[in-house]
């Protein structure tokens, strides 16, 4: 069940504790500043992950998000949740992924923690490099960084915190082709 502000603390919430991300976000919105929050620990199951993403998308639409803003959040959260389940927890169903989604008409906050070994996002190969551009894989993290207003990993690399501002001017200039 999706949680409204004030009743957000589900019994399965906050099973995982991880150090916050190494670079602080500009700010972390408090729950009472948001119109919807979901905090949930889910098993490493992509179907369950997609159910939570659909809930997030529904709430963003209710908060009047649309177009590129909505698409960008969907892409980033899709990549992040799939990475946590597939690469982080390696689909081990005994491991959980902890989600914290917060929505307001102006801001979307997403925090995802998995129980994997973590990774160094800065050490990933550059998928736009001529040598790798026509090779599969390696685009998820790049898309997350490119499509969110801010996206930071913790030191271990098993926690991703990101925000997207609605109508963020940083995304206005990109070429539509």
């Amino acid at each position: 069940m999706n949680s409204k502000v004030g009743e957000a603390h589900h019994e399965s919430c906050y099973l995982l504790t991880e150090a916050p991300c190494k670079e602080a976000l500009m700010f972390v919105p408090t729950q009472d500043a948001m119109s919807w929050c979901l905090q949930r620990a889910i098993p490493s199951d992509l179907d369950v992950g997609h159910e939570q993403i659909e809930s997030l998308m529904t709430e963003l639409e209710k908060a009047s998000w649309d177009g590129r803003d909505l698409f960008h959040v969907r892409m980033a959260v899709e990549e992040a949740v799939v990475n946590s389940i597939e690469h982080g927890n390696k689909r081990d169903t005994s491991k959980i992924v902890q989600l914290d989604f917060r929505v307001s008409p102006e801001l979307c906050y997403i925090d995802i923690i998995d129980q994997g070994e973590g990774f160094d996002p800065d050490a990933l190969r550059d998928c736009t490099d001529e040598e790798f551009v026509d090779k599969p894989r390696g685009r998820g993290v790049m898309l997350i960084k490119e499509l969110m207003s801010e996206a930071v990993y913790n030191e271990k690399g098993n926690r991703l915190t990101m925000i997207r501002k609605r109508n963020d001017p940083a995304f206005e200039i990109r070429d539509e082709g």
Binding site: L46, D47, H50, G67, R68, F71, H72, R74, M75, E78, E79, V82, C127, T128, V133, D134, K135, P136, R137, R139, G140, M142, L143, E146, L147, R174, D175, E176, G177
Partner: protein
Amino acid sequence: MSNKRRIIVSDEGAICVVRFVDKKIVDSASIEQLGEELNSLVLVDKKSVLLLNFEGVEFMSSAALNKMISLNSKLKAVQGRLKLCNLRAEIKEVFTITRLDRVFDIRKTEPEAIAAFKL
């Protein structure tokens, strides 16, 4: 032609036009099946000139992108040709960000893409 569940295939002369059944290409089992069906067009059905028409596709993840990349490699191996068309602006932007717009020949409309095959 082998049975397909994730794609709809039609022939425009020598060009094999592929449309997608799913509006949102995210489900991992569907993506795997999509990849197999795209590859089988080349490996089983021996198609070598393919046009992927993205009309109606609202969203696709990078896992789906990987299947397009694999298809492109399969086609290259048989000196085939691949074009994409009708990408909604946000999906086109994903190709641009990842520089895959340099790997794939992306055209606005199906007639434009078909004409480009004949150049």
